[in-house]
């Protein structure tokens, strides 16, 4: 019994990490209807950028503080000079561009950092855990990660629901043609959207490296988890994306508890089950 509670708890904490992977993807898809196939690789890129900064002596948290705005700028530029040119009724061209980006980033990282497995050294926090009594303990880093996932969603919801520019984001998401009639430049909204999404990628990359090992090839698998979390959650809200991340996380730890070989598979199975029962996800948008 205790073992199951522990498993569930670890799954929820893992869900926090998956939610961080997924939040940026969810924002991009929600506002631009764009599927960013390079999302996982951008997370890995952020992790390597943080690693590179620490290797020249920048403290870890300061490195994160530098990489977040850097990734924001990268997203803004990427969208305005590249992806905005491919926008239109056909969704294939932007999809192909992000697919190409994915390959470029993976190989660029391989050239620059080699195929070695890395991790971000968080010092004594690395193995620290919080005993909850009854022989159950939770890792401090995973706990911070879940808290960060929740904080990111709180901040984004604050921007989207309480500010004038947030209203412009939601209006653009609802009807891009009419949004332009209101004086909203959809291209600059899109550039900001990609900037925000990549800033979240930087946070996700930080926890990716702080919780586990990474190397240049693991981006696509992170994209898959993120994608499953977004779809399970539905496109209605970022809290749905968090819930989706938790579903994938719990399914994976439960699967691993039964048989370690089942970890990845059971996450995908949970995704398929949700898709069969609720094709529009757990928290769908009211009107689509």
């Amino acid at each position: 019994m205790l073992g199951w509670i522990d498993t569930l708890l670890q799954g929820i904490l893992l869900g926090g990490l998956y939610s961080l992977y997924a939040t940026g993807l969810s924002v991009i898809f929600g506002i631009m209807r764009l599927v960013n196939l390079a999302h996982g690789d951008l997370i890995v890129l952020a992790a390597f950028l943080i690693l590179a900064a620490t290797s020249v002596g920048v403290p870890l948290v300061a490195a994160l503080a530098v990489v977040v705005p850097l990734m924001f700028a990268l997203g803004y530029v990427l969208q305005s000079v590249l992806l905005n040119r491919a926008l239109g009724r056909n969704i294939l061209p932007p999809l192909l561009i992000t697919f190409g980006l994915s390959i470029i980033i993976q190989n660029g990282l391989l050239e620059t950092f080699s195929a070695d497995t890395r991790f971000l050294n968080v010092g004594p926090l690395q193995g620290a855990s919080l005993p909850l009594g009854g022989g159950i303990a939770v890792g401090v880093m995973p706990l911070i990660c879940l808290a960060a996932a929740i904080a990111v969603i709180l901040v984004l919801n604050g921007v989207f629901y309480r500010t004038a520019v947030g209203r412009a984001f939601r209006a653009t998401s609802d009807d891009v043609e009419i949004a332009q009639l209101m004086g909203i430049n959809n291209r600059s909204i899109y550039a900001l959207t990609m900037g925000i999404a990549l800033a979240v990628c930087a946070v996700a990359g930080f926890f990716l490296g702080a919780r586990a090992n990474f190397d240049p090839s693991i981006g696509p698998a992170r994209l898959l988890y993120a994608f499953e979390a977004v779809i399970i959650g539905g496109l209605g809200s970022l809290w749905g994306t968090l819930a989706g991340g938790v579903v994938v996380g719990v399914a994976q730890t439960v699967g691993a508890h039964i048989d370690p070989e089942w970890q990845i598979l059971s996450g995908h199975v949970a995704f398929l089950i949700v898709l069969v029962i609720r094709p529009r996800g757990l928290f769908p948008r009211a009107v689509d």
Binding site: A164, R167, A168, R170, A171, S173, D174, D175, E177, I178, A179, Q180, L181, M182, G183, I184, N185, N186, R285, A286, V287
Partner: protein, 231 residues
Amino acid sequence: MLATRELTAFYGDFQALFGITFELNEGETIAIIGANGAGKSTFLKAIAGLLPRPAAAVRLDGRDIGALPAYDIVKLGVALVPEGRRLFSSLSVEENLLVGAYGRRTGGPWDIAAVYRLFPMLRERRHAPSTALSGGQQQMVAIGRSLMSNPRILLCDELSLGLAPIVIRDIYAALADIKAGGTSVVLVEQDLVHAMSVADRAYCFQEGRVSLSGRPQELTRDAIHAAYFGI
């Protein structure tokens, strides 16, 4: 104030407008009538910047605005109330109105208080989701949303579409108030009677061309009939 000269517009390979020459003077209300598919909505969309058009074909105060995107046109004081309302479905009534102020021109009479004075019902329902409103109320939000930009020229596409006669009367009463505030209006309508009753001048479109124009009282029933259907 606003003029088009040989304005053409295309949907892909399909040509919808074949050279529309049109003029709107300060303070005027113009009705554009015509059958379905005559190009009336296309004409408004081309002015508002939602369709590509020749750069010199649209002029505002003597300046070519044909190359400007929609989000810059509205800042010059030309606002479009789109056909079918098209409110932002995930925004509340008040948020819809506030988004309308995004491309706000300074120096006009319209703000959220003025819109609520024009349509008091919207103040009561300001926190409701825009999808929860009746068709007539949604049309009021759509008009209010466009007014929030403080337009000098309001382009209205099929205001009466799908509304009950009593609601249409209310909408047209509001239109009179909007005109009284100094805003020029271009009305696209299938409802001839209403359109002609408020218009200073009218243009009749047929298959992407102007088939008739003039003051409503100078246009005979037969002439309109012929211009409308082309028989």
